[in-house]
């Protein structure tokens, strides 16, 4: 179509020579990277929108940088070598050494070979799956419906699987529920209480997984598993509410020493 060198061909479009390769597939050699502005003008449709957004994002970054009162310095903290490398190396060696020490002290056993005809009295996964296994054993809580003559709407197994899905889903949904810039537990006692209760629930529900090893009636075990975390959560909430005032006072004092109110 249109070339950059002189030809006798008359131009039919009368516009700029197409150098973006959009039509001919030929990219003109160019030393300079085109700016977002240039790319934007060459494109149309979705790609133009993309470049428009890039331009806006760049401008936004630029403005934020100009507004920022951060002080830029030549050196931030410790240099990578030797300080950081030696510190991290020491931590790594300590951690790996700890793993080796534990492995040497407590080698794993090898149980009896698989035998499909004899079910062992205790079936357990590794400890980190106990919480999930406990949730699978929630069948006593699977309600029977009166309209169905007391039969259950979903099977006990499905009930356990759903309990897992609900728990993992709730944890995954967390950042969409709790937003904002608060970082310390004292700043948000409610969410700290939820966290403490949740972590404790992971332990108490794990006990349900080994219910036949615990010499307590199942109803009592279930009560402990569900009420225990709530009690701990309430205690956490009360404690943090009490501490909150003092913490916030100290935090605000430091903040206003740094930036006195106008």
């Amino acid at each position: 179509m249109s070339d950059t060198d002189d030809t006798n061909e008359t131009r039919t479009d009368g516009g700029e020579p197409a150098t973006d390769g959009g039509e001919t597939g030929i990219v003109a050699p160019d030393d300079e990277t085109p700016t977002w502005q240039e790319r934007k003008t060459r494109k149309s449709g979705l790609s133009q929108l993309t470049y428009e957004y890039f331009e806006r994002a760049r401008r936004e970054d630029q403005e934020l940088r100009e507004e920022s009162d951060y002080v830029e310095r030549d050196v931030l903290g410790f240099p990578t070598w030797p300080h950081e490398i030696i510190r991290n190396g020491a931590i790594s060696l300590f951690f790996v050494g700890m793993i080796l020490l534990i492995s040497a002290a407590l080698p794993p056993s090898l149980e009896l070979p698989a035998n499909p005809s004899s079910t062992p009295s205790i079936i357990l996964p590794d400890w980190y799956l106990y919480w999930s296994f406990g949730l699978l054993k929630l069948n006593p809580l699977n309600p029977g419906l009166a309209v169905l003559d007391g039969s259950k709407l979903i099977s006990d197994q499905l009930y356990g699987v759903l309990a897992n899905v609900v728990v993992v889903g709730a944890v995954a949904f967390l950042p969409f529920l709790n937003k904002g810039s608060a970082r310390r537990p004292v700043e948000q006692p409610f969410w700290a209480a939820i966290g403490a209760g949740g972590a404790f629930f992971a332990i108490t529900i794990a006990a349900i997984a080994v219910q036949n090893l615990i010499p307590l009636p199942l109803a009592l075990q279930l009560n402990i598993a569900f009420i225990g975390p709530v009690v701990l959560g309430v205690m956490t909430y009360a404690l943090l509410k009490t501490l909150r005032e003092g913490y916030m006072y100290g935090l605000n004092r430091r903040y206003y020493m740094l930036r006195p109110p106008k």
């Binding site: 920022s68 951060y70 002080v71 830029e72 310095r73 931030l76 991290n88 931590i91 790594s92 951690f95 700890m98 793993i99 080796l100 534990i102 492995s103 040497a104 407590l106 080698p107 794993p108 090898l110 149980e111 009896l112 070979p113 698989a114 035998n115 499909p116 062992p120 079936i123 357990l124 996964p125 590794d126 980190y128 799956l129 296994f133 699978l136 099977s155 197994q157 499905l158 356990g160 699987v161 993992v168 944890v171 967390l174 950042p175 969409f176 937003k179 904002g180 810039s181 608060a182 970082r183 310390r184 700043e187 948000q188 969410w191 700290a192 966290g195 972590a199 430091r254 020493m257 740094l258």
Partner: protein, 264 residues
């Protein structure tokens, strides 16, 4: 005017014209040789660009900004948990690769070949028991570190926007790590492995719509056997290592890009 082609791109003449030391000559000759074939100059430019980007001056850290230098930042040790889990992952990967030399995933015979190979590792192979012990403990410690890492992220509010995506990625990673542990737990094909597999199949079958398909895919059928063992083995040594390693790299990369969320 000679018949030899002479232009700006005649690097050999350019090289001769310059007065170079032998080291410089060797370096430039090698560079030109490679660059003529692979055009690495473009990539060098990228590298240079990246170099200057990495060395960009960083904003003041939180500790500096709020003048907390003289305070002991009591959360600090907990910020090493993520690194600790990566470290345990690497130890498990190395010991696992070595275990792979001796283990054979076969459910044939009674007791099965798989069980006998683990027994052989424990009893006959030099330091085999140590290898299995290291692999197992590294996995346990990785899971413990990952759980504690998650708690740290929760209680320091590090999951909040704009870090939601990394939190979701973390949920995926912790789930995959547990699948990693589960598939590994099944490999010795001992009593606990078999019955843990049985529970897995029952769980899959209880799920409506996708359950039977999932059981076929992951366990190779509705009863445990050779197919189950091989599928668990391939998941454990081939699929999960690639997926989890890639996701860990992405997870850490996002932390790198977004910066560590320090508590205010």
């Amino acid at each position: 005017m000679s018949l030899e082609k002479q232009d700006d791109f005649d690097h050999r003449t350019w090289l001769k014209r310059k007065d170079l030391t032998p080291i410089e000559t060797v370096f430039l000759t090698a560079l030109i040789y490679i660059d003529k074939r692979l055009r690495i100059v473009d990539y060098l430019e990228l590298l240079e660009d990246a170099y200057y980007k990495v060395n960009l001056q960083m904003p003041k850290s939180h500790t500096e900004q709020y003048d907390l230098d003289n305070k002991f930042w009591y959360w600090y040790p907990l910020y090493s948990l993520g690194f600790f889990s990566v470290l345990a992952y690497i130890v498990a990967a190395v010991s696992g690769a070595l275990l792979g030399f001796y283990y054979s995933p076969s459910a044939a015979g009674d007791p099965t070949v798989a069980y006998q190979s683990v027994k052989m590792i424990m009893q006959d192979v030099q330091f085999g028991y140590a290898l299995r012990s290291i692999h197992r403990w590294a996995a346990q410690i990785m899971m413990a570190a990952v759980f504690l890492h998650m708690l740290r992220v929760y209680f320091t509010g590090s999951y909040k926007e704009p870090r939601e995506l990394n939190w979701l990625l973390g949920i995926i990673l912790i789930s995959l790590s547990m699948v990693f542990g589960y598939t590994g737990y099944l490999l010795p094909w001992n009593q606990l492995a078999f019955w843990a597999g049985q529970i897995g199949v029952e769980m899959a079958l209880a799920t409506p719509i996708v359950g039977e398909w999932g059981a076929q895919l992951l366990f190779g059928g509705f009863t445990l056997g050779q197919a189950t063992l091989v599928r668990m083995y391939i998941l454990h040594v081939f699929i999960l290592p690639f997926v989890v390693t890639a996701l860990i790299a992405l997870h850490v990369g996002i932390v790198w890009v977004q910066g560590i969320a320090e508590p205010h």
